[in-house]
């Protein structure tokens, strides 16, 4: 009765991005009877738009008898963009929660691979005849590759979708982990750690994917849990790798062979997770990028426009800097803390490894807590709440970092380290409660810039404070704390005209979410109707006004010109 192409466009996504002009053109192809129907549908469409689409998510267009199979059902409640409005941790329902579990597991695998070498260094440094300088350089190399890779990853997510981007990156870096088993010199060791470190860019695809699948009410939580449980890999690896090594060594391999075989475990884990993402994941609630591009439901965006809007948004740069002083600090500590406890307090290497692991393992709850806290503050105070909480938590992290360097006894030092880890990791979660709102069109690149900023912070901090013998490690830690506090001050300069900043309320000129997000599209693009995803996002982001939503100004230019 209905041509199948028309079915798809009318029923699968009642609020799809297709413009009415296209609809009419297709109707004209269908023949006389169908043209009449599509004109009627057009009238229904217009009235739906005017009646505030948000209340009608999951509705059925009840004209004629739409085939049941075409109406999509989601296991979780969704909004008009089909993003989940609830976060159910113990569900694996496609596409939302399944994507969540796939992405955090693969990010965990990448973290395990990147930091698989530090716990085995006592063996590796003897096998490859490494000096302390070589080890320091390898540690810096491991985190520096991802600084650039994260931005590239952001671009790839914007253009190809997080599923393909992250599985491709995970697969491409797996050879570096396999080849760690055949490294035979300091130079080859530094190289494999450098290339393995690129896999940390899967962080960006994780955050992008969560931001694409979860609504603004729960995006902080989803980002925080996915990011935190992935970062857990940095702590878990300090326990996993020595265990695997011991197992292989006890089976009969010599030490210098056992560590090589041990690296196959993280490498295989990484490869398997890439397969999982490719075959079981889905980019968006409505399908994958490649399918949506071909069917016209998702416009394939223009790279230079996306890039331009990302780099000209000053908020992205500020968040990149501040992320360098929460996540960058976390990476730095991952690299130096075992040695610090070993040297200053004379614990044995095994104990130092366990202490180092506990720093990373705090990610299990602390980063998710940051994300959840961000969402809670946003419910009450909106974006301003998110900004204030980020500043407070990150500054507290800096204060505890100063203490960590000053404290002289082992027990107190461990306690301070754990408190410090909670604040620093919560700040990471809080940062990614804000990032999804900086830009809609260039979400990928902004996420990438912020994530990359984290790695740049790690490189800078290690080079300034933890290389050579200029500062003792404890002095370096204290100075790093001071730097955290100073760099966090720039959060005060973030200002959203529609929501305000830390010290200023929203702009006195009536500015709405639509104005902010539509400024990323020019009128030619709006003509073509490719800005619709941003439109929907701006409607859904009204929750960032906090308790003021009821008194929200209605959009002046709310009805786009394409609807007549």
């Amino acid at each position: 009765m209905w041509p199948s192409r028309l079915h798809k466009k009318l029923y699968v996504t009642p609020q799809s991005t297709i413009s009415p002009f296209k609809l009419i053109a297709q109707a004209a192809e269908c023949g006389q009877a169908d043209c009449t129907r599509s004109q009627s549908v057009l009238r229904i469409w217009k009235s739906l738009k005017l009646a505030n689409i948000q209340r009608l998510s999951n509705m059925e267009v009840s004209y004629g008898a739409p085939p049941e199979s075409v109406q999509k059902k989601f296991a979780l409640p969704v909004d008009s963009e089909h993003k989940a409005t609830e976060f159910r941790l113990f569900s694996v329902a496609a596409p939302h929660m399944r994507a969540f579990h796939l992405s955090w597991v693969s990010f965990f695998a990448c973290f395990v691979s990147t930091f698989a070498a530090p716990p085995l260094l006592p063996i590796i440094r003897d096998d490859l005849d490494l000096t302390a300088t070589d080890i320091g350089n390898a540690g810096i190399a491991a985190v520096s590759g991802a600084a650039f890779a994260r931005v590239a990853m952001g671009t790839a997510c914007d253009l190809f979708g997080p599923r393909l981007a992250s599985s491709a990156l995970t697969l491409i870096t797996a050879p570096a982990v396999y080849c760690t088993a055949i490294a035979n010199s300091p130079a080859s060791f530094i190289l494999v750690r450098f290339f393995t470190g690129f896999s940390l860019a899967t962080f960006v695809s994780t955050q992008f994917w969560m931001s694409s699948l979860f609504s603004s009410k729960v995006v902080g939580t989803a980002n925080g849990v996915a990011g935190g449980w992935g970062n857990l890999g940095g702590g878990a690896t300090q326990l996993i790798m020595p265990l695997v090594f011991d197992l292989i060594h006890n089976i009969g391999a010599t030490k210098f062979t056992a560590w090589r075989i041990a690296f196959f475990i993280p490498a295989l884990f990484q490869t398997l997770s890439a397969y999982g993402i490719f075959f079981l994941g889905q980019d968006l609630p409505d399908g994958n990028y490649s399918q949506l591009h071909k069917s016209g439901d998702k416009h394939k965006d223009n790279f230079s426009q996306v890039f331009y809007h990302a780099i000209t948004n000053y908020r992205g740069w500020i968040l990149a800097l501040t992320y360098g002083y929460c996540f960058g600090v976390e990476l730095t500590i991952d690299n130096i803390i075992a040695q610090y406890f070993y040297d200053r307090f004379n614990v044995n290497l095994h104990t130092a490894g366990i202490i180092a692991a506990s720093f990373g393992l705090a990610n299990l709850f602390s980063r998710p807590a940051g994300g959840i806290l961000s969402d809670i503050m946003a419910k009450r105070y909106g974006m301003r709440g998110r900004l204030w909480t980020l500043w407070i938590v990150q500054t507290l992290g800096g204060i505890f970092c100063i203490f960590l360097g000053k404290v002289g006894s082992l027990g107190v030092s461990i306690a301070v380290m754990i408190i410090f880890s909670v604040f620093v990791q919560a700040a990471c979660g809080l940062t990614f409660g804000i990032v999804p709102f900086v830009s809609r069109r260039s979400l990928g690149i902004v996420s990438g810039m912020t994530g990359g900023g984290g790695n740049v912070g790690a490189v800078l901090t290690q080079v300034i404070f933890f290389r050579g013998s200029r500062y003792s490690t404890e002095t370096g830690i204290t100075l790093m704390g001071i730097m955290i506090i100073c760099c966090s001050l720039v959060i005060m300069s973030i200002y959203f005209p529609q929501w305000g900043g830390m010290f200023c309320g929203p702009s006195s000129k009536v500015t709405t979410e639509e104005d902010y997000y539509m400024s990323e599209w020019n009128s030619a693009e709006k003509e073509r109707g490719i800005h619709m995803a941003s439109m929907k996002f701006s409607e859904n982001s009204r929750s960032e006004r906090g308790r003021r939503v009821e008194s929200a100004p209605t959009p002046i230019n709310g009805t786009p010109s394409t609807y007549v």
Binding site: D127, D129, A174, A181, T257, Q291, N346
Partner: protein
Amino acid sequence: MAAALLLVSSILFSCLAASCHGVTLSSLQKTLIVFVTASPSPGQVLKAGEDSITLTWSFNNSFPARTDSAYKTVQVKLCFAPISQQDRAWRKTEDNLVKDKTCQYKIVAKPYSPSNNTFSWTVQRDVPTGTYFVRAYAYNSADEEVAYGQTTDAHKTNNLFQVKAISGRHVSLDIASICFSSFSIVSLFGFFFLEKRRAKHSQEN
């Protein structure tokens, strides 16, 4: 590097009660004479797991006769020469023997006897590449160091020998690495191909 290394040194043994912090090297006296003979030929770098060295140690008779009355056991260890300690804080020399990390590889432990001590040792497979000397510690019945002797001089500059470690690599490992890596890259191309096909397929629907 001469394969046959001889060093004769003589130091008086002094009874030293170990302090709570551990015995310091400077407080010990060098009453033992340690010889190392590396085989098979002079100038050769010893290969870990294959080559062996022969050690001989004895009490230096230039010391008073009863100085060795408290010695119960002797432990002979392989120690790093300064050049192998450079830029490697985990091999640092400290006077306090509890913290000292110079001698990390135990060669042999034997009950003490003033003479006729020899031992042939195949360089262990987990000994890293580096430059070494040999040191013997004498312990009393409370297991504290009371004397020592070494094959090199006080500044650790002569009679050092080199060891080349095993690489730990095997052909099978190399092949496995290359195979798995290629498999990953081929999978990647497979993914792209599959993705293109899926998109075309859904468009045709």
